[in-house]
C-alpha cells in the first residue's frame, strides 16, 4: 500500500515536471517611463504598424493591389485548406465535449467563475461578432436571395428554395464554425494560462509542442502576427464602421454623411472606449455588454412582433431546416461549382474569423475561468449559435418577407449594403426610433471591440501581464482610432481596403497556427487528465 502511494506520488511529480518552465511572466519586459512592455514584441509590433500605415498612405493603390491580390490568391488557392480547417475545428470541439477531458475545470477543480452566466454570454458577443450581426443580419440573407453576389450552391435567386438556402447559408457563416474557431483559441489560452500557469499570450499555447523555445523567436513571431492582425482588423473595421454609421445617420436625419461626420464618429467611439478601458473589465466592457444585450433583445423582440409573429415562426423553421440541410454541402471542399459564393463569402469569412481568433479568443479566455471544458465548449458553440438562429430568422426573415412582398426599397434589390438594416426597419412601425437604437447598438459594439482589443493587444505586448499600467491600453485604444482616422482622411477607402485585405490575409498562416494549437491543446488536456487521475488515486 505504502509503495503504491509513493509510486503514484512519483507519477504526479513526473507529470508536474513537464510544465515546470523557468520562464517568469514579464522577464523579457522593459520598464521605462512607468510602462512595462515585452521586448521585442512591443517594439517590433509598434514599428511594423507605423510602417504599414505609412506605406498604405504613400502608395495606396499599390498597397491595395498587392494586399488584395494576396487575399484573392489565398481565397482561390487555399480554399480547401481553410474550409477543411473550419470543419476540423468544429469536430475537434465536439470531440472534446464528449471525451472524459471535458470534465477538466479551467483554473483547477476549486476555481469559481469570475462572471455570472448572463454577463459572460453578453461578453462573448462584445469582441467582434456583435457588430457583424447588426450589419449582416438583414443584408446577407437578402444578398443570397436576390443573387446580389453569388448564391449558395448555385440555387437560383428569387425562388422558393432560395429562401431557406439564403437563411441556412447565413447561419452556416455565423453559426458553429466561427464559434468553434474562437472556442479553440479561447480554450487553449485559458487552459494553458489558468491550469498550467503559463503567461496569457498566444505563444504559451504551443508549450507542449515547442517547450521552452516558445519564449524565443518563434514565439515572438506568433505574438507579433497576432498583434498586427488584431490592430489592423480592428482599425479598418472601425474605419468602415464609421462610414456605415455615417451613412445610417445620413439616411435617418438627412445629414451629410461625409468625412467630418465619420471622423466625429471615430472620435466618439475612441473616447468612450478610453473611458471604458480606464474603468476596467467590470466597470467597462462588462457593463457595456450587458447594456448592449438588453438593447439588442429589445430590438429583436420588436422586429419579431412588428414583422408579425406568424411570419417569424415560419422564418425560424426555415432558418433551422436551411441550416441543417446546407451545413454538409456547404462544408464540402471538393467539386464546388458555386465559385463566387464559395470564395467571396465562405472563404473570406473563414479567413476573417481565423485572423480575428487571437483577439476574440483571448478576450473570451480572459473571462472564462472557473468553467469546465465541457461547459465552456457547449456554451461557446451552442448558445451563440442558437441566439444567432433567432436573430437571423427575425432580421433576415423580415428582410426576405419585404423583398418577396415588394415592400420598400429592399424590393429593388441591395444598393448600399450598409443601409439594408435601416431600409428593413424603415417599413416597420416606429422606424426612426428603432433605427436610432440600431445605430446606438453598432456604436456601443464598436466601443466594446475597441476596449477588448486594447486589453488583448496589451496582454500580448506586455508578455502576458494583466497588471501592466493601464496607460498602455489607453495607448492601443488611441492607436486604433488614429489609424482609422488617418487612413480615412488621407488614404480613403483604398487604404482601408488595403490594410483590411492584409489583416484578412493573416488568416492563412493562422490556419496552420490554429491546427497546431489543436494538437497542442489535446496534449495539454490529456496531460491534465492523467495528472487529475493520479491525484485522485493518491487521495483514495
Amino acid at each position: 500500500m505504502h509503495e503504491q502511494s509513493t509510486d503514484a506520488e512519483q507519477l504526479i511529480a513526473d507529470l508536474e515536471e513537464v510544465y515546470e518552465t523557468d520562464y517568469e511572466v514579464g522577464q523579457d519586459n522593459i520598464e521605462r517611463f512607468g510602462l512595462d512592455m515585452h521586448n521585442p514584441v512591443f517594439f517590433i509590433s509598434a514599428s511594423l504598424i507605423v510602417l504599414f500605415v505609412a506605406l498604405s498612405l504613400l502608395f495606396p493603390e499599390a498597397a491595395k493591389d498587392g494586399l488584395e491580390s494576396t487575399k484573392a490568391w489565398i481565397q482561390v488557392v487555399f480554399d480547401w485548406v481553410l474550409l477543411s480547417a473550419g470543419n476540423v475545428f468544429v469536430l475537434f470541439c465536439i470531440a472534446l465535449i464528449l471525451l472524459p477531458v471535458g470534465r477538466i475545470r479551467i483554473g483547477g477543480d476549486d476555481a469559481e467563475p469570475d462572471f455570472s452566466l448572463v454577463s459572460w454570454f453578453a461578453m462573448l458577443f462584445a469582441a467582434g461578432i456583435g457588430i457583424g450581426l447588426m450589419f449582416w443580419g438583414v443584408a446577407e440573407p437578402a444578398a443570397y436571395y436576390t443573387d446580389w453576389y453569388g448564391t449558395p450552391l448555385d440555387i437560383e435567386g428569387y425562388t422558393e428554395q432560395a429562401r431557406p438556402a439564403a437563411l441556412g447559408a447565413t447561419m452556416y457563416h455565423w453559426g458553429l464554425h466561427p464559434w468553434a474557431i474562437y472556442a479553440v483559441v479561447a480554450l487553449a489560452l485559458a487552459f494553458f494560462s489558468y491550469n498550467k500557469g503559463l503567461p496569457l499570450t498566444i505563444r504559451s499555447t504551443f508549450y507542449p509542442l515547442l517547450g521552452d523555445r516558445v519564449w524565443g523567436p518563434i514565439g515572438n513571431v506568433i505574438d507579433i502576427l497576432a498583434v498586427l492582425a488584431t490592430i489592423f482588423g480592428l482599425a479598418t473595421s472601425l474605419g468602415f464602421g464609421a462610414q456605415q454609421a455615417a451613412a445610417g445617420i445620413g439616411f435617418l436625419f438627412d445629414l451629410e454623411g461625409g468625412l467630418p461626420t465619420q471622423l466625429v464618429i471615430i472620435g466618439c467611439v475612441t473616447a468612450l472606449a478610453l473611458i471604458s478601458v480606464l474603468r476596467g473589465i467590470d466597470g467597462g466592457v462588462k457593463l457595456l455588454s450587458n447594456i448592449n444585450m438588453s438593447l439588442a433583445l429589445v430590438l429583436l423582440l420588436f422586429v419579431i412582433v412588428a414583422g408579425s409573429l406568424s411570419a417569424f415562426v415560419v422564418n425560424y423553421g426555415q432558418t433551422l431546416s436551411g441550416y441543417f440541410q446546407s451545413i454538409l454541402p456547404l462544408s464540402n471542399p471538393v467539386g464546388r461549382t458555386d465559385d463566387t459564393f464559395y470564395h467571396e463569402w465562405t472563404i473570406f469569412y473563414w479567413a476573417w474569423w481565423i485572423s480575428w481568433s487571437p483577439f476574440v479568443g483571448m478576450f473570451i479566455a480572459r473571462v472564462s475561468r472557473g468553467r469546465t471544458v465541457r461547459q465552456f465548449l457547449t456554451a461557446v458553440l451552442v448558445v451563440p449559435t442558437l441566439v444567432t438562429t433567432v436573430w437571423m430568422a427575425a432580421f433576415g426573415g423580415s428582410g426576405l418577407d419585404q423583398i418577396e412582398q415588394g415592400i420598400g426599397q429592399l424590393a429593388d434589390g441591395i444598393g448600399d449594403e450598409a443601409l439594408v438594416l435601416f431600409q428593413m426597419l424603415d417599413n416597420l412601425p416606429l422606424a426612426s426610433l428603432t433605427s436610432l437604437l440600431g445605430i446606438c447598438l453598432v456604436l456601443v459594439f464598436f466601443v466594446t471591440s475597441s476596449d477588448s482589443g486594447s486589453l488583448v493587444i496589451d496582454s500580448i505586448t506586455s508578455g502576458g501581464k494583466t497588471d501592466a499600467p493601464v496607460t498602455q491600453r489607453v495607448f492601443w485604444a488611441i492607436m486604433q482610432g488614429v489609424i482609422a482616422a488617418v487612413l480615412l482622411s488621407i488614404g480613403g477607402t483604398a487604404a482601408l481596403d488595403a490594410l483590411q485585405a492584409g489583416a484578412v490575409s493573416t488568416g492563412l498562416p493562422f490556419t496552420f497556427v490554429l491546427l497546431a494549437m489543436c494538437v497542442s491543446l489535446a496534449l495539454g488536456l490529456w496531460h491534465e487528465h492523467q495528472l487529475n487521475q493520479a491525484i485522485e488515486a493518491v487521495e483514495v
Binding site: F33, G108, S193, G197, P199, G280, G283, V470, T471, R473
Partner: protein, 139 residues
C-alpha cells in the same frame, strides 16, 4: 496615534521597497501598531506566482519575514481582481476598509515627465485624493 498600518506591496518589486518597509516598521514600533501588507493579484499567472492561491501564500511568507526581521506584528491580505491593471487603486481602497487601517505607508516615485504625460498619475497620488485615512508617501 495610529492603530493599524497598511502597506501596499508590489511583490514583484519588493527589492525596491526597502525604504518604504523600513519607514513602516519604524512607525509600527513607535505607535505599537500592527502592519498589514496588502497586495492585489490578477487571476492569470503573473511575475510573482502562477495562481492567485500561490500568490497569497507568497504574501503570507513575505509578511512573516518582515515581522521577524523588524520585530513587529504583521499580517497579510491578498485581494484578487479580474483586471488588476485597471482596478488596483480601487482594490487598495477596499483594502483600507477591510484592514481597518488608519495609516497607509506606500512607496512612490518622484513625479516626473511620465506623470505629466500619463492620463493617470501615481497610485499613491490617487489614494491621497480618494481615501480619508492618513497616507505617508515614501520616495
Amino acid at each position: 496615534m495610529f492603530e493599524r498600518i497598511m502597506v501596499p506591496v508590489a511583490l514583484d518589486h519588493a527589492d525596491r521597497m526597502e525604504r518604504t518597509l523600513d519607514a513602516a516598521a519604524d512607525l509600527a514600533r513607535q505607535y505599537e501598531a500592527p502592519v498589514t501588507y496588502v497586495a492585489v493579484s490578477g487571476k492569470v499567472p503573473n511575475a510573482v506566482a502562477r495562481t492567485p492561491e500561490k500568490f497569497a501564500a507568497e504574501l503570507d511568507m513575505f509578511a512573516r519575514e518582515q515581522g521577524s526581521r523588524a520585530g513587529i506584528t504583521t499580517e497579510a491580505l491578498t485581494l484578487t481582481s479580474n483586471d488588476p491593471g485597471a482596478e488596483l487603486e480601487k482594490r487598495l481602497l477596499e483594502g483600507i476598509e477591510k484592514t481597518g487601517a488608519d495609516l497607509v505607508v506606500m512607496g512612490s516615485h518622484p513625479p516626473g515627465v511620465a506623470d505629466a504625460l500619463h492620463l493617470i498619475g501615481s497610485h499613491a497620488a490617487w489614494l491621497v485624493r480618494h481615501s480619508d485615512v492618513s497616507v505617508f508617501v515614501v520616495r
